[in-house]
């Protein structure tokens, strides 16, 4: 996979994961063009399109578009499964995930993605293992807070 973009129906970017080195300018240009292209697609059209020399696989979940750019020899159908798996992971983590969760917790969305894909490849095919890893990292983050915070903390469930 070369990159994955998440964006809203209005074309606002919610997550961008790039697995190839490109300048900020190039990334912006690609994002702009691709978002436009995908948003112009009609609802009944297939999830695949050819764009420049890449294959684009996209799927809309509620108000969010999940869009991946894969290479010529990659399997489009399994990429749909990758997207779906990621949505499932987000859903499990946030509990009935919606776009707002991803907006306000964007760094978590990245952390979860980084436990599922690495360097553009699938690293873990067990949902359980991915969620467990996130949980452990979250705990470690809690533990790493300065002691004082934990004593003073109030609204924590």
């Amino acid at each position: 996979m070369q990159f994955m973009l998440l964006f809203s129906r209005q074309g606002k970017l919610r997550l961008q994961k790039w697995y190839v080195p490109l300048s900020d300018k190039e990334k912006k240009k690609i994002t702009r063009e691709l978002v436009q292209t995908v948003l112009a697609r009609k609802p009944k059209m297939c999830s695949f399109l050819e764009w420049r020399d890449l294959k684009i696989v996209y799927k809309r979940y509620a108000s969010l578009y999940f869009c991946c750019a894969i290479e010529d020899q990659d399997n489009e159908l399994i990429t749909l499964e990758i997207i779906h798996r990621y949505v499932e992971l987000l859903d499990k983590y946030f509990g009935s995930v919606c776009e707002l969760d991803i907006i306000f917790n964007f760094e978590k969305a990245y952390f979860i993605l980084d436990e599922f894909l690495l360097g553009g490849e699938v690293q873990e095919t067990s949902k359980k293992n991915v969620l467990k890893a996130i949980e452990q990292a979250d705990l470690l983050q809690e533990d790493s807070k300065p002691r004082s915070t934990r004593l003073h903390s109030c609204v924590k469930s």
């Binding site: 919610r14 399997n75 399994i78 749909l80 917790n105 095919t125």
Partner: protein, 784 residues
């Protein structure tokens, strides 16, 4: 566990007693005292940004916050740094600059707090890349984190390395990653393996480091490790033929792994819709494809397994179809048994009938790739493919069109053409041109009869005339011209088509040409192929005039109509100029020349004497002439091929008055005289085209002997463009007989000084005459 749903909470809990909140605010903390404004929490900032009603307002909020963040960075506040960077990363995603956060990433990564590292590494992945020198500075931190043994930290480091690691970083850190490959923890190992994949992509030489551990890793049971290993082996094999040969020996092992996956029972942990770990299956199949390609032995080893997967995979959901699809790709790419190949193509055929549009799409794409190598197998699915022409999704119908065209052969051409022509009538506009040219090409290759061919082209021109390529007109006139037995049929059909619709330009052009050529057959009335048609002269001429005057007609079309009228005026009036009544000789199929013929006819009609003169000899002899023209042009300038588009032809026509040119302000020039034979140049500069110069060369003969075999050639400097039209003839009878005239067209956009060299050859008084000379005293008005 933290309640992650709470949107208003960041990683820091709010602290009672301090307004605005803040992290770890201890009593008397010197940092706290320095800060005048407590920093916004991430989610508060997001809320504020989203609350902005306009773009300008959003910008204001962000700029204000960025100023705070910058100040905070400057102050070097370690406690809030992670939160400041997180906010910066958010605005970065909105498109605002964040480069001043790059150094902060470094500091956060170097911190011992996990919170800091988490955000720091994320920042590195988003803000740093190999273009920035700063990126190398994290190498040391990564090295430390890789070796310090806390798994989540190692995970962060590996993830970052595999996302943005440059070649330099990869070289530096390869030994660390290698060590981690054989560590006990699967969590770290699986990440290390995929990091190795990235490293090999960046630094192919590192293959030698990461190849040896693969054999052992392949024995692992952990799916993540297996998956990573297979990805790694795939990468190694794709890059090196030696690695490919080396790994062929693991084919049996791969077959075993896949077989176990496929036959083992339902496992909740890795299954999707009843398919065991489709991600892993697909990856294995892909590696098998690479290993089995062009290798009999390996292909044979995997044959049975592929058949098993192809027949047993549950295809009710996408996951199963994804595996099936990969299987098909593998079968088609290796040296598989014939039966297996047919099975694979049949699977694709079934995919074409799937209700899921995505499945149909991959089927069409794959079949298109296979149509050459496995033509007969794909042919069996032709009816289904043709059905797909009716797809509403344009990307599918486009694929279906390409595939349909590839499937046309001599036995199915009639049926296929019917389908394709029906498609042409209703297809989306952006496919029209491809469909039209596809039909015409297929018709050319497989037409069962000439009449069918003419009918097909006619239909295309009527349905999608505006989308056909330029040479379609020439092709059709060529085709009709060569089918003598169909002249009457063609002209009748074209006349009928034209009478119905004069808007489709290519059709009008062909029809006009045909009527001009075979008007007599049209008026004769009889044709056994179609209904007898009574057409009289008046109707025909009226129709052509209508074309001429229609605002829809392009200049080129008008030219065709005009020529047809001229031809008819001589043919139908029974003029006794035998030469004009001769049918046009069939010219070689060649775009420019076909139009050359049209131009010749225009010239002929205009000057009321026709003698088709081949222009090739002129072109070859011109070389000699041009060698003599020194000065600016060192190179040869050939007269460019006569304008291939009929539009150009018409310009000629309109440039030329049909009667002797009105008195031009530029005086004529006598350039040659010998024994009563004279050559005269007259110049016209059409006002609407200042770069254009028209020279009419007139050869007269006041001697007692005829001039025969007269040929005039010309050359101009390189910066000018010269076109010679065919002369009116090559004989000037004695005692002032009808002169020969010839038109030169010269384009001189740069207003370069005109020079003209002429070469005359003719027979006079039983002698061959050759004269080569440069024209002197060319009037300056001819080029200034």
């Amino acid at each position: 566990m933290l309640n992650r749903k709470g949107r208003r909470w960041g990683a820091d809990a709010c602290v009672v007693g301090f307004s605005g909140g803040g992290v770890g605010a201890e009593f008397g903390d010197p940092l706290r005292e320095r800060m005048v404004v407590p920093s916004l929490k991430l989610q508060d900032l997001i809320e504020e940004i989203r609350g902005a009603k306009t773009q300008a307002q959003e910008r204001e909020v962000i700029q204000k916050e960025c100023a705070h963040i910058r100040a905070s960075f400057r102050d070097g506040d370690p406690v809030h740094r992670h939160r400041q960077l997180a906010k910066l990363l958010y605005v970065h995603m909105l498109g605002y600059p964040a480069h001043f956060g790059q150094m902060e990433c470094l500091k956060l990564i170097a911190s011992s707090r996990f919170t800091d590292k988490r955000v720091g590494y994320l920042g590195a992945m988003l803000l740093l890349d190999e273009r920035h020198d700063a990126h190398l500075l994290i190498t040391n931190s990564i090295k430390n984190d890789l070796s310090q043994g806390i798994q989540p930290v190692q995970g962060l480091a590996l993830c970052t390395l595999s996302t943005m690691g440059s070649a330099e970083m990869c070289r530096d850190l390869a030994p660390e990653v290698e060590k981690l490959l054989l560590q006990p923890s699967p969590y770290v190992r699986k990440k290390a393996i995929l990091t190795a994949v990235h490293m090999i992509r960046k630094v192919p030489e590192l293959s030698s480091v990461f190849l040896p551990p693969c054999a052992q890793l392949l024995h692992e049971r952990h799916h993540g490790i297996l998956l990573g290993t297979i990805t790694l082996i795939t990468e190694l094999c794709e890059r090196s033929p030696a690695a490919l040969r080396h790994f062929r020996k693991v084919v049996p092992q791969l077959v075993h792994i896949l077989r176990t996956l496929v036959t083992m029972g339902y496992s909740t942990e890795h299954s999707i819709s009843g398919v065991s770990d489709p991600f892993l299956q697909v990856q294995i199949l892909r590696l098998l494809r690479i290993l089995g390609r062009n290798h009999e032995e390996s292909s044979e080893t995997m044959n049975d397994l592929l058949a098993q997967v192809a027949t047993n995979t549950d295809t009710s959901r996408n996951a199963g179809n994804a595996v099936l699809f990969e299987t098909v790709l593998t079968i088609m790419d290796i040296r598989s048994a014939a039966g297996l190949r047919v099975l694979a193509v049949n699977i694709l055929g079934r995919f074409l009938l799937n209700s899921d549009r995505n499945i149909r799409y991959v089927a069409l794409t794959s079949l298109l790739r296979l149509v050459q190598s496995d033509h007969s197998a794909v042919q069996r699915h032709r009816p289904t493919v043709v059905e797909c022409l009716r797809e509403t999704d344009a990307s599918l119908s486009r694929r279906a069109l390409e595939l349909s065209l590839a499937l046309v052969n001599s036995s199915n051409v009639r049926a296929m053409m019917q389908e394709l022509q029906a498609f042409l009538e209703s297809c989306p506009p952006d496919l029209r041109a491809d469909c039209a040219s596809g039909i015409l090409l297929a018709a050319e290759r497989f037409a069962p009869t000439k009449r069918w061919h003419i009918d097909t082209i006619l239909h295309v021109l009527t349905t999608a005339g505006t989308h056909v390529r330029d040479d379609a007109v020439a092709n059709l006139t060529q085709l009709i011209g060569g089918a003598q037995e169909l002249h009457a049929y063609s002209v009748r059909r074209l006349y009928n088509a034209l009478a119905e619709d004069i808007s489709q330009q290519p059709l009008v052009q062909v029809a006009a040409w045909c009527i001009g050529e075979y008007g007599d057959l049209l008026l004769a009335g009889n044709c056994e192929e179609i209904e007898p048609l009574q057409v009289d002269e008046e109707e025909v001429l009226a129709l052509l005039e209508k074309v001429l005057q229609s605002h829809m007609s392009l200049p080129a079309t008008r030219g065709y109509a005009l020529t047809a009228l001229m031809k008819l005026s001589t043919r139908l009036c029974g003029d006794n100029k035998a030469a004009i009544l001769e049918k046009m000789p069939l010219v070689e199929r060649d775009g420019p020349q076909a139009d050359e013929e049209a131009k010749e006819s225009k010239e002929a009609a205009q000057l009321s004497e026709a003698a088709p003169v081949p222009t090739e000899p002129q072109a070859s002899q011109l070389l000699d002439l041009l060698d003599l023209l020194d000065g600016a042009s060192g190179d040869v300038q050939h007269p460019p091929p006569l304008d291939p588009s009929p539009g150009g032809a018409l310009i000629h026509l309109l440039d030329l008055p049909c009667v002797p040119p009105p008195p031009a302000p530029i005086p004529d020039l006598k350039v040659f005289e010998r024994e009563g034979v004279q050559l005269n140049l007259s110049f016209i500069r059409p006002p609407e085209n200042p770069a254009l110069l028209l020279i009419t060369v007139t050869a007269t003969n006041f001697s007692e002997g005829d001039v025969t075999h007269f040929i005039c050639q010309a050359a101009v400097p390189k910066s000018l463009q010269l076109q010679l039209q065919a002369p009116s003839g090559n004989t000037v009878p004695a005692r002032g007989g009808l002169p020969i005239t010839q038109l030169f067209r010269i384009l001189n956009p740069n207003k370069a000084p005109l020079r003209l060299k002429l070469r005359l050859t003719y027979d006079h008084f039983h002698q061959s005459v050759q004269e080569i000379f440069e024209v002197n005293n060319l009037p300056v008005e001819s080029w200034q």
